[in-house]
Amino acid sequence: PPDRSAEVAAIIKGLDNPFFQAMGQGIEDGATGPVTVQAAQSTADTTGQADKLSAVAVQGFGCYIINPISGTNLVQSLSLIAKQGKPVINIDSPVNAEAARLAGATLASYVGTDNTHAGQVAGDFLAGRLPAGAKVALIGGTAGDVTSRARLDGFRAAVDGKLTVSQTVDVNEWSRSEALTRAEEIMRANPDLAGFFVANDDMGLGVSRAVQNAGKSDQVRVVSVDGVEDGLRAVKSGQLAATVAQYPYTIGEMGVEACRAAAAGHTLPATVNAPVALVTQDNAADALSAFPKPFEQYDDPYRQLLQQ
Amino acid sequence: MTQQSGTAVLSTEATADALLVATGISKSFGNVRALQDVSVWLPRGQITALIGDNGAGKSTLVRVLSGVHPADEGSLTFDGSPVRFASPEDARTAGIETVHQNLALIDDLTVWQNLFLNRELVRGFGPLSFLDRKRMQEQAEKMLSRLSVNVPPIRSKVRRLSGGQRQAVAISRAAGWGSKLVIMDEPTAALGVQETARVEELVKGLRADGMTVLLISHNFDQVMRLADQVWVMRAGRLAAGRRTQDTDGEELVGLVTGAITS
């Protein structure tokens, strides 16, 4: 087999979602050498993702970037890599530390945003905009999906005692059209609804469509998470009240930088917080023009290591 | 040859030597009353024929006797004791084997597997019983050779057989289990001359071995040749019963069509 020890392999989560496209793009743009980016078939395909990591692991890459679907699904495959002694950079969703320890897998560094935190940011925003006790509804992705749940939990915690969460529904496969239908129904059941929190931008766009269709653009605010390009545009045009941008591009970029830094022999920081920004109509134009990069200054400890 | 009228009419009161007695059997499918108050009996060790026009209810009666359909009303006595067949397995266990009009063969199984269907031979015991293929294949060979001129290798699938070959397999299966009563629903309808002759020999052979046979046939010559006794059905009801020696083809035609009544 050819020597791929100078190459990077990345296994990310999704297949058909602009969030992960941006992440993949960031990984490719950030790399100075060849990279291999692979994704799972869907955000429920835990074993398929593990299979892909096992497959690339046998090729002896020099560094691995992983964005696991759940806290534990990649742990078995990580133990294979641990035996090779190659650095593993965990991006976006964290690997469960206890499970990693038991499997003998070590992670060189973690960079990502906390999805619970992202939900809190959204919650604080809506709580600030809406009168106390106003009714909001929550729309999550596929039932049982970890990321969706973390975002919703964060939101609930932030609005606890401030807003009334009237209803939560989950939408199979994060489907935009189903989110739209559910939102219409929720508005009908709750004519006094004042806001939606939606677990990602794609569904958020469907929900904002439902709000427009119902002629309630002035009355119902929609906030979602991700900060993909269409999401930012929608914020700019006022269809979305806000989105919590998680900069998947930057997360990917920082992932490859971490690999380079590790290859250069640096000791990596255990945890790096990727930037999170609340994008509202005020700063949407800036966010769009900087896209896919963050429009505000942020810390990049890996780059600092590389520049030493 | 033709005897006019005054023929001995068979009573539906069973005699003591009846192997099977069916009393007052009725059966409806939705609005269709396929059988109405049918009482017949089969003398032990003899061949009884059941005749009647299309739709008269012959096959339905056969399915009741062989446990496929439960009767809506009526009772059965078999070999001296009252029986209720909740399933075909019950009837087979009691000693009734049937060649159905649609043959009940499994196309994708081999000839020998069909012959031993639900009568498979096994080695070992309990949950560790495995099929004894070799013994089944050997016995299958014997079962078939008794009957058929033109039967394909017992290892070929039934799907590949011609109509007549299929009939031969179904008949061999019913005849092969040392049962007390063998019911055959139009067994020779699709058969050529040679096979028909063989089947008729076989039916006589069953009687010679002491078995009782119920034969459904549209071929009155065949009925006159083989049967000891005949029941005639018309439109779901029993129309008449005769000892063969007391009747002839012409009277049977009359009874079937309703030209002659009683």
Binding site: L15, T36, Q38, A39, Q41, S42, T43, A44, D45, T46, T47, G48, A50, D51, K52, S54, A55, V56, V58, G60, S70, G71, T72, N73, V75, Q76, S79, L80, N96, L102, A103, T142, A143, G144, D145, V146, R149, D170 | S66, G67, S87, P88, R92, T93, T98, H100, N102, A104, L105, I106, D107, D108, L109, L117, N118, E120, V122, S129, F130, L131
Partner: protein, 324 residues
């Protein structure tokens, strides 16, 4: 002498078979697998390394176990659309009991029993309720995933346990325990289908249910039994799944549903029922696994992977139409 003739006849028929396109059609999945192995083996030096082969076998194990269960159902001319959600349900039961402090083996056992019960419900509705298989299991697909979500409150449960960890990573010689489990399932299933009365009755029920019933076979019980088997194997799959991903997750992986059926179909088992084959579906499962693995190794964009799967399924089927 009679022996000698019989053997001779068999030999001749084997020779005849090789000249018959039907023979090749029956083995379409094997041929497809061999072709894939050659192509990927040439294209990617890592493909045929021991490590990768082991990894493929491990990752095929769950699919193999599910495909075997599906094969029994399909052999009776049924279909089990609920197999992947029953697996999810079994995994959640296992996870919750483990979290509640039950010993791991007991939790696994009860997980399998729960999955088996879901299978029994399927079987009862099909056999006693006389509802078409497709409808019952479409209903169970929904119901079991709903039950999994309700029980778990939508949250995954971490199951970090030494036994399950060993199951996922340990091996007997070069063969991981996963492979051993799958192999045992395959051998038992093969014997059950081809060397027991039950197996003959399964095929008879699928081939001609009315005829089988007329011969006294309790086709209702046979149907119940195949759904029980399918449920129990989904439970076994659940143990492997939890062991592999280290958690019991309530979200169902629909890939397993379609792939378990695709593996059976690739294995040359007719959806009409009445014909069965255990090794075919196993090969089908290996083929699907090898395909994704090879494309991943070659670094081909994941967007091409569904296309490749579709094309391979259809191409194998093109060969298979000459099946006897």
């Amino acid at each position: 002498m009679a022996e000698a003739v019989a053997v001779g006849a068999d030999r001749e028929s084997l020779g005849g078979r090789l000249r018959d396109i039907g023979f090749w059609a029956d083995w379409a999945a094997v041929i497809g697998l061999v072709a894939l192995v050659i192509v990927f083996g040439l294209a990617s030096p890592s493909f045929l390394t021991l490590g990768n082969i082991q990894a493929m076998l491990v990752s095929a194990a769950i699919l193999i176990v599910l495909a075997v269960g599906q094969t029994f159902v399909i052999a009776t001319s049924g279909i089990d659309l609920s197999i992947a959600s029953i697996m999810t349900f079994g995994a959640v039961v296992l996870g919750l009991l483990y979290a509640a402090g039950w010993p791991i083996l007991l939790a696994c056992l009860v997980g399998v029993v729960a999955a088996g019960l879901a299978g029994v419900i399927n079987g009862t509705l099909v056999a006693k309720g006389r509802i078409p298989d497709f409808v019952v299991t479409l209903g169970m697909f929904s119901a079991a995933s709903g039950a999994a979500l309700i029980l778990s409150d939508g949250k995954p449960t971490q199951v970090v346990d030494g036994f399950l960890l060993a199951l996922a990573s340990g091996s007997v010689g070069p063969f991981g325990y996963f492979i051993v489990v799958a192999a045992v399932v395959v051998v038992v299933a093969h014997v059950a289908l081809f060397h027991t009365r039950f197996g003959v009755h399964v095929l008879a029920t699928g081939g001609n249910a009315e005829g089988a019933r007329a011969m006294g076979i309790r086709t209702g019980r046979v149907r119940l039994a195949v759904y029980l088997i399918s449920g129990v194997l989904a439970g076994v799959g659940a143990i492997l799944l939890v062991s592999r991903v280290g958690a019991a997750e309530p979200a169902i992986n629909t890939t397993y549903l379609l792939n378990a059926i695709a593996a059976v179909v690739l294995g040359g088992v007719s959806l009409q029922g009445g014909r069965g084959n255990i090794l075919g579906p196993v090969v089908g499962a290996l083929l699907l696994t090898a395909l994704t693995n090879g494309l991943t190794l070659l670094g081909i964009s994941q967007y091409y992977q569904p296309l490749a799967v579709g094309v391979v399924v259809v191409m194998a089927a093109l060969l298979m139409r000459y099946q006897r």
